[in-house]
């Protein structure tokens, strides 16, 4: 659905170590967002990273629009700053759940994975609801021994967004 991920995946047994590393990456990423440390969120990306959120109806027919579309860490930082400090919205809690991590490329020069995500939102007077169900298409670069996202495309199935999507996915 996203170009560059339709690959013959390596034998899962051979890349267990890498899969664990990616799962640990997701856990740290989600922990950062879910505890509200939004201004630390850009630290998970390389300087030239692409971050995009789009509906599955767009991704399936290669339409380029992004609900969020950030080219480079500077734009990612601007979004983090805006949401943390200047945007007006009702308070809420978010929880991310990431599963089904599937390594599709495991060369050190090209580490790619797909994972499913579920994003739950709780408004102060509301129930906890599934805000978005989707899939991450991730490319990683290893810098200083650490994985960083050089691309994260979040493709959501929940085409009708419940009002808005404030925090990053």
């Amino acid at each position: 659905m996203i170009p560059g991920y339709d690959l013959t995946p390596p034998d899962p047994k051979a890349v267990r170590e890498l899969r664990l590393e990616i799962e640990e990456f997701h856990a740290a990423y989600c922990w950062t967002l879910d505890r509200g440390a939004i201004e630390k969120w850009p630290d998970f990306f390389t300087d030239d990273a692409l971050y995009r959120i789009t509906g599955r109806e767009n991704a399936e027919v290669a339409l380029p629009v992004g609900l969020v579309y950030a080219e480079g860490k500077a734009m990612i930082r601007d979004r983090a700053f805006a949401i943390a400090r200047t945007q007006m919205f009702a308070p809420r809690y978010m929880q991310h759940f990431v599963s089904n991590v599937r390594v599709v490329a495991a060369q050190e020069s090209a580490i790619k994975a797909q994972s499913n995500y579920l994003l739950l939102q709780t408004l102060m007077e509301g129930p906890t609801t599934i805000h978005q169900s989707g899939r991450y298409y991730d490319s990683f670069a290893r810098q200083g021994g650490r994985l960083l996202l050089s691309e994260r495309q979040c493709v959501y199935d929940t085409l009708i967004i419940p009002n808005d999507l404030i925090y990053p996915v």
Binding site: M75, M88, A90, T129, N163, D164, I166
Partner: protein, 429 residues
């Protein structure tokens, strides 16, 4: 959460909603708006009948979405599901998404390409204009059953709507003898509409959809309300996109139903906010700077004094030209307390790769995650909750006195009053 998930104060739970109200506009006239126009189910029904199904042209599609013969799109007129299809001769047709037989909403895909439409229930088939073509076992089986002799396919086509196409924008109406779309829009609105669409081949970038848990009229009000734009949106205020004092206008057509909020971006972004305005605008932030200023670059591509025009086209279309990010928003009313917004973002055929990316980057301003868009969605939700749940029963519309229509000042609600003048006439209120 969707509006149906509301726990505290869900629609129908407030004593106010159950009161017998006389649907009588407050005696102040247009400087007051009664809450019941946002919450009352009878008012909503009347709106569907007199406005969306009445004498209006409703946006249904962009021609660029259905370029080839057989292309179709699921769409809506008011809350009513319809299908827009391009026939083999290139003409565009709009019909109810309801099988003429047993009423099934037969078209389920958001868009696609077909030779004919077939209702899955009993396989009745329709051509791309909505004419009934095939009825299985029409003459029965072994001389038994089947349709009576006087059943003629031509009497049982899909209900077809009146269609108007202006510069690649497709409108439909349930009313057959509508005035031409140009007259419906009027000269004031046509000018900025043509800036975006005339002589341009659109390139569709994709879609956003969201449920906005607020009455559909609040969306029109929001974009006829430049006052909020100078206050709510720190992005506009800080980066000089729409600032009290900038070159700007709130334009209304003669009927009062349509509008264009227009402004020219200042060159000296941010710094042109004088100290006294700054004091009024709490959203102004001294510490707000962009790490990547490409977000707000403006490539002059239009012969227009305005760098931003937001058009409200009654009753269901918004045309967005915010610097170089372009799009339309289709409002689908969904009961008094909810609307569905369908956003179609686009550029132009012939745009360079860099221009496309510029438009996509700038798209971060708008939509359900946009720096402006999300704040509006939140604010409208807050208004709906207030008018539904509080015992107070009306709002104030006194900015700019009791003037109606076009206003040079941003600190005015005169375009909203003009809209409600028109609304009251149509609604008999």
């Amino acid at each position: 959460m969707y509006s149906v998930d509301t726990v505290i104060g869900h629609p129908g739970s407030s004593p106010k909603e159950r009161q017998e109200i006389q649907l009588k506009w407050p005696q102040e006239g247009l400087t007051a708006v009664p809450d019941w126009i946002y919450t009352n189910p009878d008012i909503y029904s009347r709106e569907v009948e007199r406005i969306f199904h009445g004498r209006t042209w409703n946006f249904v599609a962009l021609a660029a979405e259905i370029r080839s013969p057989g292309d179709f799109k699921r769409s809506y007129v008011g809350p009513t599901p319809i299908v827009v299809a391009r026939n083999t001769d290139g003409s565009i047709h709009v019909f109810e998404n309801r099988c003429a037989h047993r009423g099934a909403e037969f078209c389920r895909d958001l868009r696609g390409n077909v030779k004919e439409f077939v209702c899955p229930y009993h396989q009745w088939s329709y051509d791309l204009c909505g004419n009934l073509r095939g009825v299985p076992f029409k003459r029965g089986l072994k001389k038994e059953g089947g349709m009576p002799k006087d059943f003629h396919n031509e009497d049982h086509g899909l209900r077809r709507l009146n269609v108007a196409i202006l510069h690649g924008v497709v409108f439909a109406s349930f009313v057959a003898d509508m005035e031409p779309i140009e007259d419906y829009l009027g000269a004031e609105i046509l000018r900025d509409f043509e800036t975006v669409f005339k002589g341009r081949e659109l390139k569709i970038f994709g879609y956003y959809r969201n449920e906005l848990p607020a009455n559909w009229k609040l969306y029109h009000e929001n974009l006829k309300d430049p006052y909020h734009a100078t206050l709510l949106h720190s992005f506009l205020v800080n980066f000089g996109l729409l600032v009290a004092g900038n070159k700007s206008a709130m334009i209304a057509d003669k009927s009062g139903r349509h509008g264009t909020m227009a402004s020219a971006k200042g060159d000296d972004v941010g710094t042109n906010v004088d100290a006294s305005s700054r004091k009024e605008m709490r959203a102004f932030r001294d510490d707000m700077k962009l790490n990547d200023s490409r977000l707000l670059d403006y490539v002059r591509e239009f012969d227009s004094p305005w760098s931003v025009t937001m058009q409200t086209i009654w009753p269901n279309l918004i045309v967005q030209r915010e610097l170089n990010t372009l799009g339309i928003r289709h409002i689908v009313p969904n009961g008094p307390n909810s609307m569905i917004m369908i956003w179609t973002m686009f550029g132009y055929e012939g745009d360079s790769n860099e221009m496309t990316r510029h438009r996509l980057r700038q798209g971060n301003l708008m939509g359900p995650s946009g720096f402006l868009g999300l704040e509006d969605n939140e604010a409208m939700k807050f208004v709906q909750e207030g008018v539904r749940r509080s015992p107070t029963d009306k709002g104030v519309l006194k900015l700019g006195g009791d003037s109606e229509g076009t206003s040079a000042s941003l600190i005015s609600e005169s375009a909203i009053r003009a809209m409600y003048r028109h609304y009251r006439e149509v609604m008999g209120l």
